[in-house]
Symmetry: C2
Subunit: 452 residues, 2 copies
């Protein structure tokens, strides 16, 4: 029987195990941590992810999409909370299009359990990867409880051990001509759990992603099933009027929320008491190339860790599985051919999803509350309504199609310039009548093939 090793039983590793099992592989997964399913998980510990089209596609390919849909809450748009406590709603796409809030812990636990239903798949916990023999496909392991060293040889090895991949550090990084970078952004984040009302109902609208955009920083909130919201504050560490370093004690935190998020503060006047429940964490973009060498391939965050602002980290990792599986078929499991094509076609998309993520931080924290951006969005939505099969706004290309990320990025930025120019040329404003806008859109669409 064909043998595969997966390093890391996170989201991508667990899903990839399902694909490999489907292809007839005996799969050994080695996970550094203990089995998370055996631990008490408080709701407060969970962080939320947004599953979108690419994620669902990959889950459906192995027949488990519906199982995961049971633990997913649709979010059809953004609810913008302004400083004066007024709110505005911006749909993400056409009617019915949504991204889905899922708990990271829950989806991971489910994926592991489903993977283990395959008799030839086994997850070994507390087994830390300490090295990889890339040429011979040997993974060297150390049991974190007993200290016992062991090794596992297989036909092919996948490193899905995340942004700080041990397999990558130990196995790949000292290879000649291995390009690598880890760059931290100047901003960090801290999570805050906004609990449900006493009767279990939600304190904010449920099926939407809440944003408190404040220019250089922002607070967001994603719904959980129990009526709570997982909120995250993204902000510079230092060097700004509002930054983590300036929030030195409970009083600072309280007055910060009172001043900059007054409506949120009303919902959670004891926010300062929850401040220390979650650590202050940093955010990095990690790029590398090649992604494969000998018998090892990096997948997911191990290959292209990104910042979370487009909600695409998991989706991109899941798409790696779709793509790699299609290449297994194309190349009849000739792994050297599969690896070569995988990194060639996926690397530009890994780079693009990182660029998109960085770009979307500025959209979320700043642009969403800018009238010029709102007008641009309105025009884009209208074009996409009038020409639904020909025009895709950037957000939709990324979240509701599997158009390659690099194409979405290029086309999205190109479109954005055209629309900005269009608005300027025709002096379009919020008060321009809709029929006038429609006429201009038809005219634009007829003459400008670039936006098609």
């Amino acid at each position: 029987m064909k043998q595969a090793t997966i390093i890391g039983s996170g989201l991508v590793g667990s899903l990839w195990a399902l694909y490999l099992a489907k292809a007839g592989y005996k799969v050994q997964i080695f996970e550094k941590r203990a089995d998370m399913r055996l631990m008490q998980m408080s709701a407060g510990k969970s962080i939320n992810l947004a599953t979108s089209y690419r994620g669902w596609k990959a889950l459906d390919e192995v027949g488990i999409g519906d199982e995961i849909r049971k633990i997913a809450i649709p979010m059809y748009g953004r609810t913008i909370h302004q400083l004066d406590s007024t709110k505005a709603y911006q749909p993400y796409g056409n009617i019915g299009q949504a991204i889905f809030s899922v708990s990271r812990g829950e989806i991971n636990a489910k994926l592991m359990s489903i993977a283990e239903t395959n008799l030839d798949t086994k997850i070994h916990f507390n087994e830390e990867c300490v090295n990889v023999d890339l040429e011979n496909g040997i993974t060297f392991l150390k049991n974190t409880q007993t200290g016992v060293l062991s090794e596992c040889k297989s036909d092919v090895v996948f490193a899905t051990d995340g942004a700080f991949s041990a397999a990558r550090y130990a196995g790949m990084q000292r290879l000649d001509k291995f390009n690598f970078s880890q760059n931290y952004i100047p901003d960090g984040y801290r999570e805050i759990l906004l609990p449900a009302n006493a009767d279990g109902t939600y304190k904010l609208e449920k099926e939407t992603l809440h944003i408190w955009p404040r220019g250089r920083f922002m607070l967001i909130a994603l719904p959980n099933f129990d009526g709570s919201f997982t909120c995250t504050l993204f902000m510079p560490f230092e060097g700004h009027e509002f930054c983590f370093n300036e929030l030195k004690n409970k009083e600072d935190v309280q007055s910060f929320f009172k001043i900059v998020f007054p409506d949120f503060y009303k919902l959670m006047p004891n926010v300062a008491d929850s401040w220390e429940n979650h650590p202050l964490s940093s955010l990095a973009i990690i790029r590398c190339f090649p992604w494969t060498h000998g018998k090892l391939a990096l997948m997911g965050d191990a290959a292209h860790a990104t910042v979370p602002f487009f909600g695409q980290g998991m989706n991109c990792g899941f798409e790696d599985c779709s793509v790699l599986f299609s290449l297994m078929r194309k190349h009849h499991e000739n792994w050297s051919e599969i690896f070569k094509e995988f990194e060639k076609i996926r690397k530009p998309n890994g780079d693009a999803v990182q660029d998109l993520s960085l770009q979307n931080y500025i959209v979320m924290r700043d642009k969403v509350s800018d009238p010029a951006y709102q007008l641009q969005q309105k025009i884009e939505r209208r074009i996409s309504e009038l020409f639904p099969n020909q025009y895709f706004p950037l957000y939709g290309m990324v979240s509701f199609t599997d158009i390659e990320y690099k194409v979405a990025l290029e086309k999205g930025n190109e479109q954005s310039e055209i629309i900005a120019d269009f608005i300027k040329t025709h002096s379009i404003s919020e008060s321009t009548p809709l029929e006038e806008i429609d006429k201009l859109i038809h005219h634009l669409f007829d003459k400008s093939p670039a936006i098609k």
Copy 2:
């Protein structure tokens, strides 16, 4: 007695030991390799470095410049070898200004021997750094011969263990918010030793750096004391008409040299026989930040490894010693203050020397044979002759002053645009009379403070 640990007895480590000894430190140097001075070193094994102003300044500060001058050959300019075997000479600076060819092995051996004359300095060979406790200043070592593990605690630790610094990989890289990148350029290099004539004389002019610029690639030659030249071919690995991958056998090598370096080929018709004497090597730019943490500081290539095209790798590392020593005095050996200021002022210069190095590859392999560049150089030299205390060409700022690299880079590029514009505006050509040029220069200098 104050205790310091240095990891790596290379060029920077050995020189830094001299500075620390001068400041009254007991110095332990741990070197992974065996003592190079005990090994048979063939001339062919040596690679050459160019010592320039910053290097001499740092050597002179500890009183050993004259000792090193004994093994240095001045190179006053570039000799350009065109495809048609004609030659052109371009001085590096004003009369008497030179960079100096030294053998890496020889200078390193000398620095180690001088360092060891201090009774409180000890070099431990075959001791590989396997980890560093940054907070407590403990270096963990493994003897490469016996496998024996040991540790050394000291007041302060310096990692001068080169581009692939073990101290950096093990101690710094997994620190939260440690930015890091290693990026290989698409070109590699291979050395070739051009032997002396039978009577010991040089086959090419001695006191010059020879370049065979060929657009996308180049061959260079630096003189050795024994009449030989260390030649280096820099070229893309793949994807070009002329690249390393296309030189598959002796016949390929021979016909390559015959076609693209005909005058060199005449001097060394058996070049293909020497082809395998030196390995094909890769070239990378390594950037990181911070450079210091707890009791550890990265210096030299461990902090800012660059490609060799401006001949500044060693000089910049030696300048690190000058700067760090001046900060020791300024902050009265308060290491936390010294480290903070060191990385703050040196990091932008580390970045700049890397940008300068990349930029100068294009100058060396391509621009030097471009008439427009030659004219620009001629004008620059003339300005610098007329206003020697006010105008410094870029090459001179980098090689013959200790103007900060970042200032040289900015000012150099700014000047370059002004001169290009000046040539264009006044339709200056090779045939413009010198007195006419002088008049225009005086006019330019009077009205444009930007170039002063």
